[in-house]
C-alpha cells in the first residue's frame, strides 16, 4: 500500500496539460499498451501525429476538437509513492469541470506555454485553485522546444507569476518553477541536456520532493462531526476533527441542544452514532461539537464567493449536503466569472467555521435560481 497524492494540472487551453499527463503516463508505464496503441491509432485516423493527450481525452469530441471537455484522472506510480494526476479543461466555458477536478487536490501543477505566457485563463485557474484550498503550486513552463530552450523566454513569465501570487487570498505555502517540453518528454523524468541552464530537478523529482516534504500536521482539536441523516435508530456522520468519546456530552448545532453519544461505530471518518436526541428528522447539515467555541452559528455569513454567471437577487447554497436559499445585496457590473466578498443572508441558521480554520465546515457550493451550478464560496 502506498500514499497517493492528488495533483491537479491547471492552465490555459492548449498549454499542454493533457499532453503532459499523457506523456508522464507513458514514460512511467502507468497505462496499458493497449490504451497507448488505441491513442496512436486514433491520432493517425484523424491525420495527426501521435498525440499523448489522447490517452486522457477519450471522448470522440475531445479528440476531434483537440481539447479536454471533462475532467479525468490517471494514477502514476513513482518510487515509493503514487501521484493521481487530475486533468481539467482549460477552456473558460468548462470552468465547472475544472473546479470539480481541482477541489480535492493537494498540489496545483500549473502548465504554461512559453509562447503564450501567463494568460488571463491561467490566472483565473490559479486564483480558483487557491480559493478551493490549494496553496502549493509547481509551475511547468511547457513547449520550451518552441523557443529553442532559451532562458530569455521565461524571464517575463517568472516575474509575472511572482507578482500575481502575492495577493492571493489563501496564501501560498510552496512554489517551484520547472521548464521542459511535454510533447518531447524533456526534463520530465530526467534532466534535459537542452535546458543546460536549469540546474534543478526534473519535473517528477520536483513533485516527489514536494510530497515527501509535505508531512501531515495533525492538529489536536476537539471533536466536530457533521451529520448526514438518520437510519433506523442511528444517525450517520463524518468526523471532521478530533475523535469521538463515548458517554460525553456534545452540542447539536445550530439547535444548541445537549446530547450524548451512547454508541458509535467508525469506518475511518464515516461514523454511525446512537445519540440521545430523539427527533432525528431534518438532522442532515447539522453538526455535533464538543466545544461550542469551535464553531459559529448564524444566518448571516461573511464569504468570499466565485460566481460563474452574475448572481441574481437570490440563489441557493449547498452546505454540508443541505440546501439553503441565500440573498445578497450587491450590485455587480460584470457578466461572468465574478468574485464577490460580501455578507450573504440565508434562510436558516447554520453552524460553520472560517475556511482558513476548518475547511470542511467553511465552504459551500452555489446554485442559481434554477438550481444550476454557479460557483462556490468560502467563509471568512
Amino acid at each position: 500500500m502506498i500514499n497517493i497524492y492528488k495533483i491537479v494540472v491547471i492552465g490555459d487551453k492548449d498549454a499542454g496539460k493533457s499532453t503532459l499527463i499523457g506523456k508522464i503516463a507513458m514514460l512511467t508505464k502507468a497505462v496499458s499498451k493497449a490504451r497507448i496503441k488505441e491513442s496512436k491509432n486514433e491520432s493517425k485516423k484523424l491525420g495527426k501525429k501521435f498525440e499523448p493527450a489522447f490517452i486522457l481525452d477519450v471522448f470522440k469530441e475531445e479528440r476531434e476538437k483537440g481539447l479536454t471537455i471533462d475532467t479525468t484522472a490517471v494514477e502514476v506510480p513513482y518510487k515509493d509513492v503514487a501521484f493521481q494526476f487530475i486533468d481539467v479543461p482549460g477552456h473558460e466555458s468548462l470552468i465547472k469541470n475544472m473546479l470539480t477536478g481541482a477541489s480535492n487536490a493537494k498540489v496545483g501543477l500549473v502548465v504554461i506555454s512559453v509562447k503564450e505566457g501567463l494568460t488571463r485563463e491561467t490566472k483565473l485557474h490559479i486564483k480558483l485553485a487557491n480559493m478551493l484550498g490549494i496553496n502549493n503550486f509547481i509551475f511547468f513552463i511547457n513547449k520550451m522546444d518552441k523557443c529553442y530552450y532559451s532562458k530569455d523566454a521565461i524571464i517575463e513569465i517568472f516575474r509575472g507569476v511572482n507578482i500575481f501570487l502575492i495577493p492571493l487570498f489563501n496564501g501560498i505555502k510552496y512554489i517551484k518553477f520547472n521548464y521542459g517540453s511535454a510533447l518531447k518528454g524533456e526534463n520530465i523524468m530526467k534532466p534535459s541536456k537542452k535546458i543546460w541552464w536549469y540546474k534543478g530537478r526534473p519535473l517528477m523529482e520536483d513533485l516527489y520532493a514536494f510530497v515527501k516534504d509535505d508531512e501531515k500536521t495533525n492538529e489536536n482539536m476537539s471533536t466536530i462531526i457533521s451529520l448526514q441523516g438518520a437510519f433506523e435508530n442511528k444517525v450517520f456522520g463524518k468526523v471532521i476533527s478530533g475523535d469521538i468519546k463515548q458517554n460525553k456530552y456534545y452540542y447539536l448545532m445550530p439547535d444548541n441542544k445537549k446530547v450524548s453519544i451512547d454508541e458509535y461505530n467508525k469506518n475511518g471518518s464515516s461514523v454511525s452514532l446512537k445519540i440521545s436526541q430523539s427527533d432525528k428528522t431534518d438532522i442532515s447539515g447539522k453538526v455535533l461539537v464538543e466545544n461550542k467555541n469551535d464553531i459559529m452559528v448564524s444566518d448571516e455569513i461573511n464569504a468570499k464567493m466565485f460566481f460563474i454567471k452574475k448572481p441574481e437577487n437570490y440563489f441557493y447554497i449547498s452546505f454540508l449536503g443541505k440546501t439553503y436559499k441565500a440573498t445578497l445585496n450587491i450590485n455587480e457590473n460584470g457578466k461572468n466569472f465574478i468574485f464577490i466578498d460580501s455578507i450573504i443572508k440565508i434562510d436558516n441558521k447554520i453552524a460553520y467555521q472560517s475556511f482558513s480554520k476548518i475547511k470542511d465546515i467553511g465552504r459551500f457550493v452555489i446554485y442559481d435560481k434554477d438550481l444550476k451550478f454557479n460557483g462556490f464560496g468560502i467563509i471568512k
Binding site: 469530441e61 477541489s103 441523516g229 433506523e232 475511518g268
Partner: protein, 262 residues
Amino acid sequence: MIEQNLKDLEEKSIYILREASAKFKNIAVLWSMGKDSTTMLYLIRKAFLGKVPFPVIHIDNGIDFPESYKFRDELAKKLKLNLIVAKSEIKPEISGFSCCGTNKTEALKRVLKEHKFDALIVSIRRDEHAIRAKERYMSYRDKNFKWNYKNQPAELWDDYSSNLDTEGHIRVHPMLDWNEIDVWRYIKQEHIPINPLYFSINGFRYRSLGCTHCTVPIKSNAKNIDDIIKELKTTNIEERSGREQDKEKEYVMQKLRALGYL
C-alpha cells in the same frame, strides 16, 4: 497496479452511500454477481448497520453462466436480499454493441419505471475504462436514460448536490476510486464470497464477468484470491480484455454509456 489504502476507500464509499440514502427516496442497487457489485453489497451492509436496505436488481438476459445463477441464489438467501430479477430477452441476431445497448438497457428502463427508482447504485470503477474515468460519484441520467457527458454536474469537495432538479435518475458510484487490485484485497480482508468463475481452471480464468456471449476467459493459473492479487501486481493487460472487443473500444463505450448502459 497501485494498491490504495483500503480503510480510506471504505470510508469514502460508506460516506457516499449514506449521502445517497439521505438524498434519495427510492434507491436500488445493481448486482451482476461479479466481484465489484458483490463487494458493493458488503459495503452497503457496512454502511447500513449490517443490512442491504435497498432492492437489488439483477438484469437477467438468461445467458449468464450457470455458476453465476447458483452464486446469486445462494448469496441472495444468505444476505436476505430483496432481489428483483429483470428479464431481458436475447435475440440471437443482435450481439456486442446492440446487445448491451438494447437488451440490458431496455430491461433496466422497464424495472426503473415500474418501481419508480430515483437512484441506482452502480459499481463502476475509474480504472476499468477511460470513459468510466470521466464519471462523477453521483451522475445524472435524464428520463430517456441519456448521459450528457459533455455537460456533467460539478462535484466540489465531497458535496454531491449538483443534481437537485431531476426527472430522470441518479447513478451513484461509491466505488469509483477503487482499483481492481483493491477490490480483491478487500474481498480477502472481509471474507466476501465470490463467484467461482474468477478462479483458474485448466489454466484459464475470468477476470471480468459479462454474459456467456461476450466474455472470454484469460490465461491464468490464479487459483485463489492471493494468486489473483499477485497476478494483478505485475499485469499490464487491461481488465476488460476478455470482453467482446467492439464494446471496449473507446467510442463504443462512450456511445453505450451515453445511451444509459452501465
